[in-house]
């Protein structure tokens, strides 16, 4: 008998003796009581999202044109004396010409594909670890918590939002959702499009030493979200 069959058979032999209060044979189906969900005007979503992310020490910018997006990114890069970016591919960033514009302005988008060979992978990671800023798009954002949602895939690596100390995400306003359950309901591809779906609510933080709040312990210590029309 396979390990799996033996394992599952053991459970089946125990289940009849299990005392499981309120266990229904049917799946309880969907939860219908979410209060912060439907019929919220888009402007309110923006306000709430901004308020929540600010409370988590994340910063929100609003950019009306692609020139403004570029300007904000260059300001952040200048602040950190950075000329290089780990970035999602241009297909996954809006405005589409953003990568070209940044490149023309002397910003280098470094190659961040990890090799399959273990030793090469470590060398590449060590090089990428020197880059100070990561740039990504986002598949959505959650107004009730200030989190942004990123789905990995071709051209959409995890490292851009993880390895550098600064993360910039560009988010078109129409991708705002009231909450995580609302986002999941609208994105059935969230777990099939790539190997990783991540919700990021502000900069990395810890309170492990004397419960003193400290930012940037492992992930980025600064998070900027640029809202676009």
């Amino acid at each position: 008998m396979s390990q799996r069959a033996a394992f599952l058979n053991r459970l089946r032999s125990r289940l009849p003796q299990a005392k499981l209060p309120e266990a229904d044979p049917n799946h309880p189906s969907s939860f219908r009581g979410y209060t912060f969900a439907a019929d919220i005007p888009p402007a309110d979503l923006v306000d709430r999202f901004t308020q929540e992310l600010n409370a988590l020490a994340g910063q929100v910018y609003s950019a009306k044109t692609s020139q403004e997006v570029t300007k904000i990114i260059r300001q952040i890069l200048n602040k950190h004396g950075a000329k290089q970016l780990i970035s999602w591919g241009s297909d996954w960033l809006e405005p589409r010409q953003l990568v070209a514009t940044l490149t023309a302005a002397g910003i280098e988008i470094v190659d961040s594909e990890l090799p399959v060979i273990a030793a090469d992978r470590k060398v590449k990671l060590t090089a990428l670890d020197k880059i100070k800023v990561g740039l990504t798009g986002a598949h959505g954002a959650l107004a009730d918590t200030g989190a942004i949602a990123l789905i990995s895939g071709p051209g959409r690596g995890r490292l851009a939002s993880l390895l550098p100390p600064v993360h910039i995400a560009i988010l078109p306003q129409q991708k705002l959702y009231p909450s995580l359950p609302a986002f999941l309901a609208a994105h059935h591809e969230a777990t099939t499009a790539g190997s990783n779906l991540v919700f990021i609510a502000g900069p990395s933080r810890t309170g492990d030493i004397e419960m003193t709040l400290t930012m940037g312990v492992h992930g980025p210590g600064e998070l900027y979200v640029i809202l676009t029309p």
Binding site: R4, A6, F7, K122, L125, P154, A190, T206, G216
Partner: protein, 475 residues
Amino acid sequence: MAVSNVTFYERVEEALHDRQLQTALDISTTRFTTGRQNALAALPEAEALRDHARRIRAHTIAHLDRYLAQFADSVERVGGQVHWAETAAEANQIVAELALSRNVKNVVKSKSMVSEELHLNQTLEANGMKVVETDLGEYIAQLAGEKPSHIIAPVIHKTRQDVADLFRRKLQATDADLADVPHMTALARRVLRSEFLQADMGISGANFAVAETGSICLVTNEGNGRLTTTTPRLHVALLGMERLVPTLEDLGVMLQILARSATGQKTSVYTNIITGPRRTTAGQPIEPDGPDELHIVIIDNGRSQILGSELAEILYCIRCGACLNACPVYQQIGGHAYNSVYQGPVGSVVTPGLYGLDPWHELPQASTLCGACREVCPVRINIPRMLLKLRSETAEAGLNPDWLKRGLRLYRQTVVRPGWYHLGGQLTSWLSRKIADNGWFKKLPGPLSGWTDHRDFLAPAKKSFSQRWREEREQ
């Protein structure tokens, strides 16, 4: 599980006299309980969500065989590999063989309670590997050679000075590195970052696993969970077999209450949902990064014993730690006194459930049965019911200490005989007046001294209730 020679009561004694621990417990449990209360109060549907979450967990555990099979199929469909481990030894062997066959030297870990259960670090170290805990608190505990003392805040028992001394000794930290908590954290980031870049294997636990999609979900604030599951080419996830939810939508329900119950946050910083390894087409990676291999080890290690018993309800637990913070006993004695991976009220059920009442029968006694744990549990687990069940099993197995057995026998004989009972009452009342100080006992003899060592005990009233009742009626 290793059992120390120090008894539970000796550990409690030590904890109660540890001033630093007492302060840390006061601050942390107050902050967590207040945070939880406020976070749930701000969510109008919180109570209904808790009911719903309970229904999901109950249904899932009742059909665990079906959902585990579905989960395994889903994982394999997206290119992950599933392993089944009945015992800790089997799980350790699976992970060690994976590591050895792939020439793994450096291992990074993000917090996993199951791995503590397995003593996996020792197994890997015995095979010549370097294993580094990467959650800041767990890393500090590892450097100190200690065990975590809280599910959510592993080193609440340490001051910043303790940590500074430790960093000076173990990491050759300079004064500048230790200037304040942010500098100390920055030092840990640098040290651990180099471990992430050089790691051959990342080991994680899982907060939840989703049957329909084959996803696992890891919730962290620091981001070490993401790094552990992204930089190394090999990711091994350890999954306690009960951690399933049927659908992604169900996961959404759990996530709405998990962080609120644990720390009072609306959400943790990183909610990381992993579905299979880095995607490939024709053997070539099409995603820029992520692990090339994902192995999920599904672990029983005593859980099926719990499943086939009156304790099965404890498997609904989502490991938020709210019952620890709310427990008046935990608030006084902290996590180390339990001497187990699982502490507090939930631990007092899980630990004897996994490893048997002998020698863990003292843990179910570490409760006032006040019901605070049940009150705060996001999935409303009736922990007091199971503590009572374990206490009665302890008595039936004859594991109680002799003084308690004799005392209870005497009590039983007395309370069923009105004459004896009244005599006993009068005797106690007379004794009280002899030795009580202003209506309080300052020091009681024998096993009763356990109470008076730390606080006075109210002496019985001069007249018993039945005496007063009689007098009232006669008037």
